[in-house]
Amino acid sequence: MEFFEIDIPFMLLLLVLPLIGTAFCSLVKRDANQGAIMFSGFTLAVALVYVCAMWTTDFTESFSTGWIETKYILINFDLYVDGMSMLMIVLTALLVFLVSIFSSSEKHNPRMFFAMLMAMEVGLMGVYMAHDYFLFYIFWEIVLVPMYFLISGWGGPRRHYAAIKFLIYTHVASLVMLIGIFVMVFEAAGASDQLNFTFSAVAAAAGGFDQLFQTAAFGLLFFGFAVKMPLVPFHTWLPDAHVEAPTAGSVLLAGVMLKMGSYGIIRICLEVLPQGAVAWQPFMIVVAIVAIIYGAYACIAQKDLKKMVAFSSISHMGMVMLAIATLSGMGIGFAIFQMFAHGLITAVLFMVCGICGHNAGTREIPLLGGLAGKMPIFAAFMMFGFLASLGLPGLVGFVAEFGIIMSFFEYLLSIDMIWPIIFALAALLLTAGYYLWAMQRSIFGKETDRIDLSDVHDVNKAEGFSLGVLCALIALFGIMPSIVMKLIEVVPLVISGVIV
């Protein structure tokens, strides 16, 4: 289309604007929050223009330029955007924008804080756009650093422990993933002594990978992504990180960072190593189911509201894994849908938790109670978020869950083994259970006397705005899911073509 003839700068804007934002926020004397809002707003606008263009004509944009080319190594600065990455990009831009507004009243070292937010955005955007393994890995790692600072600088009491745990744990995972990348690239290079790190080159050579190699490489990559998602039993960094992280950090962490894992699985593992995927399918199914049930049960036992939400996102990412593991176009499509839906919903949940901890002074469910009396709007948002998260029809979460379980059901029919569907259904019940229980004990019932509610105040304007926007979107996409589906349709059909 004509508009995108000049797209080279236009596509890079998604990376450059946050980068400028980072510099701006870290350099300005004051009003860093304004800067962050402004630049993330611009980015969001660009992303929206893109998504509109995409929605009218389901096109895929790519941008390529040479970067490092030597005798032994070929690395390009390749960017590529299709429906899946576009969804994630929009989500990122949106969430960063909203959290900048949400926490615009940050007092402690705001320059650094907002600079870190913008840096996060750079990394995330990069991950979802990169089309070269080297580039992909660079952005993948860049994301860690600002998150480390956010947790360890603005976090709760045990923040140092949580931050370093997060850093090391995920770093190990990404290094293992890196080995997987090396292996793949070497295999792709074959006899020629130049290692070509571009997605396209590896994908082109992928046809020649034999089953055994694919299985091995898949294992390496899968571990890296599984820790990021995270799947049980590699999840323990997540609850700590979430509990200690500031609200903005948690929102971005759960909203878009976890998606990096599933994105990687779809984008790399499935596209390049389909036979490996087939070999690992049973394992993936089991892991996914374990994650779903385990996460749900862990939620029930939690005292801390935020920790509960953290475990719930483990459970929901398990849903994503389940959908991917069906290896069907439909399943992968709904996996992407769930990634998007969970991004929106979990943002609401963590914002609510943040407000609760900030306004009521504690997030300990046993200490809370009857908040709805003092903070009705907060209670309304909380209820909305919880209901959305437990898959209430008419909200975006339901569409994803319905599709995922349907595709899982079809998969089970295809292997003539129906009973595992029980787990997926039980998860629905458990989810409803812990959310309702938490709601009953925190916002309903008699007003608590265990904490002093005399001077609690309801959500303020900024928080209300961000929450309102998110809730509106949740409802919108719940009622008209085809908007999102249209973007996704571009992707999984391609992938499912690869699946053998």
Binding site: I142, G153, A163, I179, V183
Partner: protein
């Protein structure tokens, strides 16, 4: 006219040693200047160093290859290494300009420094054992003196003594090894030695010779368990000299390894390939792999619990040595390129870290990590630079350290034999992230006792700027440097293979 012709021939005759000669002359002149003012001496030697770099770069650029009496050669590999050492030299000189720890003898200081550098450069260029040995010892003996240069600090003297004794042992081992080697091979020309080493079937005496040789140079690289001297000496020495040892003298040992063993493996593989067999792995490669694994593991693990930042950096540089040693076990020219690249980046990131330490010491900050708390508030730019170096050492993209590690590790994946080694290295670099992040946290997250700002001397600022820019630039656009390293390694190995093909052996 004949005189001019003679001049030309003289120049042509000495050209292979041009960089060395420049520094030697400097070393002869500097003391005289040093009597008047230390600063002047510093600037003179700095200029000389830069000039030498320029000359070397130009010679390399023109593709000059030369040979001095079969003793020293000049080719891309040596040029690259010489430039590396010259850069180290300049860096150290920059750090030493306003070094409050040194009270007098400025001229001698820089002279000795220059001579030590010359020694290392000779090692790069040496073509036969005597000149290699002389170069090694030159660098060695000079470094004792330099380590002891902090007159008013007993730790300096202690460090010097420890260094003297341990390195004396290593010298003895090395020499003993060489003597046995001469016994087998009957020659002291390195290429011939390599060939006969590669072809001879291996007896226990052979093993003794090789072992002692390895031990001798393993001391320089501070491989486990030849590393014990490193933390003490690094801590006790004046910080510029610590830098010199960490990023300079260390590389010397690697060059010895490259010269003797890497080429030996190349020969083995070449011959087996020529004989149409599959290239089986030489036992020494396994030895080196084990040494590498042990070194990086111990270095990183011990570094975790260090509170003195110089000791911490010491252990981290032990670990870095372990990473580079991967090259020896892999033994491809791609991996050697990675090794050279990591040497270069290591100069800037580790050197930069030490520059920060020295700069802060010049402003009276202690060497304990706790003294760095709240540094981001007090000296933002220094803190930022330090963060860059730390993350670069930890291998966080997009910094130089990441890229060199990237190449290094990726090279070991080839063939699949050494993938376990990569796994070890990967786990290690994850561990290392812990103590590097600790420094960053101290600077950025923790609250300091005071927040009053201070500025560091300008010479340190320049040094910092150089290192930081290098770290960023090599990280973001490593192409050119990478090409240099590839050229060097390719030229080095292929040059040797050419010689081998032309030699009477095959």
């Amino acid at each position: 006219m004949s005189f001019l012709a003679d001049m030309d021939s003289l120049v042509a005759y000495l050209l292979p040693l041009a960089p060395h000669l420049i520094l030697i002359i400097t070393a002869l002149i500097v003391p005289a200047i040093g009597f008047k003012s230390g600063k002047a001496a510093a600037f003179f030697s700095l200029g000389a160093g830069l000039f030498a770099i320029a000359v070397t770069a130009y010679m390399m650029y023109t593709g000059y290859k030369g040979d001095f009496e079969g003793l020293y050669m000049f080719n891309d590999f040596t040029a690259l290494m010489i430039m590396l050492f010259l850069v180290v030299f300049c860096l150290v000189v920059l750090m030493s300009i306003s070094d409050s720890e040194r009270t007098k003898h400025h001229g001698e200081y820089f002279a000795i420094l220059a001579i030590a550098t010359v020694g290392m450069m000779l090692v790069c260029a040496a073509e036969e054992m005597i000149s290699l040995f002389v170069g090694l010892e030159l660098a060695n003996i000079m470094s004792f003196a330099l380590v002891a240069f902090k007159k008013n600090d007993p730790r300096s003297a202690e460090a010097a003594v420890k260094y003297l004794i341990t390195s004396g042992l290593s010298t003895a081992l090395f020499l003993y090894g060489m003597s046995l080697m001469y016994g087998f091979t009957g020659t002291i020309v390195i290429n011939d030695i390599i060939y006969s080493l590669a072809t001879q079937e291996i007896t226990w005496a052979y093993a003794v010779a090789v072992t002692t040789l390895i031990a001798g140079s393993a001391f320089k690289i501070s491989l486990i368990p030849f590393h014990a001297w490193v933390p003490d000496v690094y801590e006790g020495a004046p910080t510029p000299i610590t830098t010199f040892l960490a990023v300079g003298a260390k590389k010397m040992g690697f060059i010895v390894f490259f010269k003797l063993f890497l080429l030996m493996f190349v020969v083995v593989h070449f011959l087996s390939a020529a004989a149409g067999e599959v290239a089986e792995i030489h036992q020494l490669q396994w030895v080196f792999a084990l040494l590498a694994a042990g070194t990086m593991t111990v270095g990183n693990i011990v570094a975790i619990s260090q509170n003195n930042i110089k000791r911490m950096l010491a252990y981290s540089s032990i670990a870095q040595g372990g990473y580079i040693l991967i090259v020896l076990s892999v033994g491809t020219d791609y991996s050697m390129a990675g090794g050279l690249l990591h040497m270069i980046t290591h100069v800037f990131m580790k050197g930069g870290a030490f520059v920060v330490v020295a700069a802060l010491a010049a402003r009276g900050l202690g060497e304990s990590i706790d003294d760095y708390k709240g540094l981001a508030k007090r000296a933002p730019l220094v803190a930022f630079a330090m963060m860059l170096f730390m993350f670069s050492l930890a291998g966080i993209p997009p910094l130089a350290g990441f890229y060199s590690k990237f190449v290094l590790f990726s090279s070991a994946v080839e063939g699949g034999t050494w993938i376990w080694l990569v796994a070890v290295a990967v786990v290690n670099s994850a561990i290392s992230l812990y103590y590097y992040a600790r420094v960053v946290k101290a600077m950025y997250v923790d609250k300091g006792s005071t927040t009053e700002r201070f500025r560091v001397p300008v010479s340190f600022k320049i040094a910092l700027a150089v290192c930081a820019i290098a770290v960023i630039v090599i990280g973001i656009y490593p192409g050119p440097v990478m090409e240099l390293c590839e050229m060097a390694s390719f030229e080095y190995i292929n040059g040797f293979l050419e010689w081998l093909k032309s030699s009477p052996y095959v």
